[in-house]
Amino acid sequence: MSTSSKVLILAAASWAACLAQEAGVDLRGGLKINLPKDSPLAVASLDLGPSKGTARGGAVMLDLHASLRLRNLSGKRVKGVTLLVLAQDVSAGGKGSVAAPSLDVAPGDDFPVRIDLRMVRPMSNGAEPLVQVLLDGVLFDDLTFFGENRLNSRRQLTVWELEARRDRKHFQQMLEARGPESLQKEILSAMTRQNDRPRVDVQVVRRGTMPRGANAPATNYEMDREVQFSFLRMPGSPVELMAGAAHISGDEAKAPHLEIRNRDQKAIRHLEIGLALKDTSGQEFFAATVPYDEPLAGKGAAALRDSATLRVRHTSGSRLILDSMSGFVNNVEYADGAYWIPSRADLADGRLGQLVPPSPEEQRLVQLYRKKGLQALVEELRK
């Protein structure tokens, strides 16, 4: 075979390989929604819209945009739903979830849930679906729960619902006691707080060393120093943060440890501490939560140690240097199933009001006011 013939064959093979690498993947059967037989929800419709899968060498890149409509088959109002999204062979058995809190779906009604997933995974043999969606839990208006609860959805949905009730009650009382103008003033204040929240990206590594960031300095001379926590105290909190520290190095905070004390007589099953970080420019932002999942007896004390590493950066990608840390109690679940969440009075403190994230319900009401105005908000609160 002549040299020119060999070159032609090689060029044709390369072109064919390039075409094969960009080949589309058939998404039929790629997404499977598995609801239990006794599920209080049913799939009313599923639209995969502009979803696409692309084969790249031995991997498949999936860009899934699923618009799912679920129907409430139960006799109770649905207040929140969590769907478990499983993508096999991706990132050490990792999984995702899509939750819809602050719902109020009457029996027989439909509601939408969007799943927008992007994923790269090894090419499968086609026998198994690329993505499976399971029902992790449904919360009803009487705070009863249905579902496997593999993601502790019951606790999270319940906390969101209690926060929703607290905030609706707050705005309703404002409306009844002081009229629409005061409500408008209060909702504008909430809107300002939401808009003024510093925007940061956060990474976490459970164990091991955080991979070097793309914008990390060329040298690694940033000193690792232990920083003591300052605590933001809420008068009504049943848990007191006694002491705590973490190691700070550049844009990373590592291995937080805290000492906590139960001020209540009731035993605690779970509690969540919020971490706020401050950078050297003085900007403070809510970045992470530290859960404590051991039983804590009434009036008991405990130490909480964690091996995680956090990294924070501006949403623009620019690097920030951490300076100090603060902690506050975010929520508590008692052993008897009752919950504690901060009251509006606890959050009235300016700094706490800025740091503690708004409830999903407050976000929803603010968006309703922004989109449809004060009258729509008043009607919503008078339902």
């Binding site: 050490a92 990792g94 927008d116 990206d201 990474q203 976490v204 859960p291 994230p357 968006q367 989109k371």
Partner: protein, 197 residues
């Protein structure tokens, strides 16, 4: 008859050549009247120079100067030889053969050292592979969505098309990352999370 170069004759006249070259040159000069004449001329000139140096100013380091000049002359001779031999085939002397016993012994030693090194290197690479930690799985919450990646595989839950920018992002130290979105049309809240196991 082939005569030595004029530089070599000058060095011979001053007794500056290596002893073997000096010996072979002496044999040639004794048999060659033309070269004897050249050498005699160099020696007369050298004597005249020595007489002149008596009138030179004091303080000059003549010994050092002379050594430098001799060295320069040697370098010149070496360069001249190199240039003249360029492109000509080199004379290859007889190769000293190695006895077969020495060859067998040397091969055995080299073989033993190679096997030992290979075994040790293989064990070390196994130890390094055993101690190397796998890439940690990073969970990230950003405005664009929540995702996790171990460097080769990745999964990302993005925001709805109606509002792709997350309003609130957070991570949990148990290894999860979350992003909360507000649908601009309906106000419905969507919270996406990824969990690293």
């Amino acid at each position: 008859m082939k005569h030595p170069s004029i530089e070599k004759l000058a060095l011979y006249g001053g007794g500056e050549l290596p002893w073997w070259t000096q010996f072979t040159m002496r044999r040639h000069v004794h048999a060659c009247p033309q070269c004897q004449e050249e050498v005699a001329l160099f020696r007369e000139t050298a004597e005249a120079v020595r007489e002149e140096t008596a009138e030179m100013p004091a303080g000059v380091q003549w010994d050092r100067l002379a050594a430098e000049m001799r060295a320069n002359v040697r370098v010149g001779i070496a360069a001249s030889d190199a240039i003249s031999s360029y492109g000509k085939p080199h004379d290859i002397g007889p190769v000293q053969g190695m006895s077969w016993r020495m060859a067998v012994l040397t091969t055995g030693v080299v073989l033993m050292l190679s096997v030992g090194y290979w075994l040790n290197a293989a064990r070390k690479s196994e130890q390094i592979a055993a101690t190397r930690q796998p890439d940690p799985v990073v969970a990230e919450a950003s405005e664009r969505g929540v995702g996790m990646s171990d460097g080769s595989k990745e999964m990302m839950l993005q925001g709805p098309k109606t509002n792709v920018r997350a309003a609130i992002v957070t991570v949990s130290t148990v290894g999860s990352a979350g992003a909360r979105y507000v649908d601009e049309d309906t106000g419905q809240i969507t919270v996406n999370n990824v969990y690293v196991e």
